[in-house]
């Protein structure tokens, strides 16, 4: 085995220029493949980390205006979103819904601590809000069911607000925050990329808003769906259910506004998938060019070495040895220069990551180790192929004729 590799290295060294030129073609192919895939991954990761990508299994509803008459009622009516709609949804839609909750926004008020104050709205929420929006609780806890049931005056702050009001998120826990004259106890702080709301229990917000049953928004948490059809079906069921509850036509698209984040998520997924496929195809085509390059060179190499191959066979080389030697040559060249391509591609990935650090739609455009191994395996196969056809060609020539070649 060692001997065989020695033979191959000797051959490669004898034709340095040719080997290098071939290798460059392969390295380039691999390089492009890795850069493109890294790019695609960067776009995908950025999407998945973005607000759009996360919390994708929620449909949100807001108040709207009717555009169609219904049951004697005219068009142009404002349809509020109410607690009874929440109950209707809970009752009507059972499949694929894991939770129905709502958010009640309050007015902008001044919130004071001992040393500082901020001016903000407050959001009355249910506990499920934390999971739905993936709020990362860094100190203490989030609002829980008991808080909502008892209408306990507790508040959960975003870290930066906590720091402004109390000096640090840790020190905020247990302290009192004055919201519009009412004393709320800080029970937790959270961290999130773009949300910075002040969260209090839904029931408290309701009380502060004069016990009206009108909500800011209803959130329907869905699960177990995977197609656009299902996404749209759920949307229709929601409209029907609230249509019954608030008396508007189920086909009225503007009576309530629905943000089907799930549907959006699905289309984005498809787009990502398409992007990925395109990148793979382009990358593979580029790689094929490289492999064709290797095969080409191997054909030339074999032709040049016809005489030598004739000598070897006359001395007693079995066809299989010649075949193995040539194929292995192809594999060694492809793998060696493929690695160079992987190395350069990875470096390029790092450069891309640095260059695109502030660009929102690309994040972490690097290829993972698993992919690098797959590509390597691909290389070995490609190399074997590149060597195979020239080798078969070489063997077809009889030793006698090969010896006559010069």
């Amino acid at each position: 085995m060692f001997d065989l590799f020695n033979e191959i290295l000797q051959t490669m060294r004898t034709n340095k220029l040719r080997t290098i030129l071939t290798g460059i073609a392969v390295a380039w192919g691999i390089f492009m493949l890795i850069v493109l895939l890294g790019f695609a991954k960067g776009v995908r990761t950025a999407f998945e980390d973005s607000p759009m990508g996360q919390t994708s299994n929620v449909l949100q509803l807001w108040s709207g205006r009717t555009s169609m008459p219904f049951n004697g009622l005219g068009a142009g009516r404002t349809i509020p979103v109410r607690e009874r709609d929440m109950k209707a949804l809970r009752h009507d839609i059972v499949d694929n819904v894991s939770a129905v909750s709502g958010v009640l926004e309050g007015n902008t008020v001044v919130m004071r601590s001992d040393s500082s104050s901020i001016s903000s709205t407050y959001s009355g929420v249910y506990p499920i809000m934390q999971r739905e929006e993936q709020l990362r609780v860094t100190n203490g806890r989030f609002i829980n069911d008991r808080d909502v049931n008892d209408a306990s005056k507790v508040v959960v702050l975003e870290e930066r607000n906590a720091t402004t009001l109390f000096g640090s998120p840790q020190r905020a826990i247990g302290r009192i925050l004055d919201i519009n004259g009412l004393a709320f106890k800080v029970v937790g702080t959270y961290e999130h990329r773009w949300i910075s709301s002040v969260f209090i229990p839904y029931s408290c917000a309701k009380a502060m808003n004069g016990f009206s049953d009108v909500l800011g928004t209803i959130r329907v948490n869905v699960e177990g769906m995977s197609t656009q059809e299902e996404a749209e079906a759920i949307e229709r069921s929601i409209r029907e259910s609230i249509g019954r509850s608030e008396s508007f036509h189920p086909d009225d698209q503007s009576a309530i506004w629905i943000w089907n984040r799930f549907s959006n998520y699905l289309s984005q997924q498809t787009a990502m998938s398409v992007l990925n496929w395109i990148m793979w195809i382009i990358g593979l085509l580029t790689l094929i060019t490289g492999v064709v390059g290797v095969s080409n060179i191997m054909f030339v190499s074999v032709r040049e070495r016809t005489h030598e191959i004739g000598i070897r066979r006359a001395i007693g080389a079995r066809p299989r040895y010649i075949l193995t030697q040539i194929i292995l040559e192809g594999v060694v060249i492809t793998t060696l220069f493929g690695y160079v391509g992987i190395l350069l591609g990875t470096i390029a990935g790092e450069i891309m990551a640095y260059a695109f650090a502030d660009v929102e739609f690309i994040k972490d455009p690097r290829v993972d180790v698993g992919l690098a191994f797959q590509v390597t395996a691909l290389l070995v196969v490609a190399g074997a192929f590149a060597g195979f056809f020239p080798a078969m060609r070489a063997l077809k020539i009889r030793p006698v004729e090969a010896l006559r070649t010069e």
Binding site: Q10, H307, I311, A314, I315, G316, R318, R320, V400
Partner: protein, 243 residues
């Protein structure tokens, strides 16, 4: 050692070429013979068949008690490796390997370890008087030296026969004499040697000349009248031996 009986070979093609028309030939162990013939006489084809580089259509070829008939490429390669030592007119050394590596190559195909085969190669080179040139490339050797390396390579597998195709064809007269001396020396040590040549001077240094013309071996009694002799103009120097 070598026994050919009624061997025929035809090259296929638009016009099939019947090159060997029934060769009958016997060469004993330890003989030093030359095969002489003009171009087109079939001597190259005969050489290829003797060297198991080509198959024949009918008849029988027995080499060292082995029947050589319709061999697959693998079997043919193995037999070439073990039984035959080739020496070619144009030396046929591999240009990017040094003398030792060239000589050791047949052993590489036998699977002999690197150290062992290199040692054996040095031994053979020593036998040829080329020990100091062991690590030179063919391009750094003279014609005579290259042929001696080729002979060392031919010997390294301890073959049954040495088959030489115009071994002195590319050498000057002085070097030719040296090379022929080596062949005679090897023959004295017991190596069966077959030299294919058109040079009567070479033929004269062998113990028997086998003449081939038009695809057939010319029986010795017909030698004087053969075309080859008339072409050579050196009829006086040709010694005819009765087998």
């Amino acid at each position: 050692m070598i026994h050919l009986k009624d061997v025929h070979k035809t090259y296929p093609g638009a016009v099939p070429l019947h090159v060997l028309k029934g060769i009958n030939l016997d060469i004993e162990r330890g003989e030093l013979v030359s095969i002489m013939g003009a171009s087109g006489s079939g001597k190259s084809t005969l050489l290829n068949i003797l060297g198991i580089l080509d198959n024949y259509d009918s008849g029988e070829y027995v080499l060292d008690k082995r029947l050589i008939r319709n061999l697959g490429e693998n079997a043919a390669a193995d037999l070439r490796n073990h039984l035959i030592g080739f020496v070619f007119q144009s030396f046929n050394l591999i240009s990017y390997k040094d003398a030792v590596e060239n000589v050791a190559l047949p052993l590489f195909y036998q699977g002999v370890s690197r150290r062992k085969r290199n040692a054996m190669a040095i031994e053979q080179l020593d036998r040829m008087g080329l020990r100091e040139w062991a690590h030179h490339l063919p391009s750094e050797l003279s014609g005579g030296q290259k042929q001696r390396v080729a002979i060392a390579r031919a010997l390294i597998t301890n073959p049954a026969i040495i088959l030489a195709d115009e071994p002195t064809g590319a050498l000057d007269s002085k070097t030719s004499v040296e090379v022929m001396k080596i062949f005679r020396q090897l023959n004295n040590e017991g190596m069966t040697t077959v030299i294919v040549t058109h040079d009567p001077g070479v033929g004269a240094q062998t113990n028997r000349i086998i003449r081939i013309s038009d695809g057939l071996i010319i029986p010795d009694s017909q030698i004087v009248k053969s075309q080859t002799d008339m072409d050579n103009k050196k009829t006086d120097n040709v010694s005819v031996q009765h087998s």
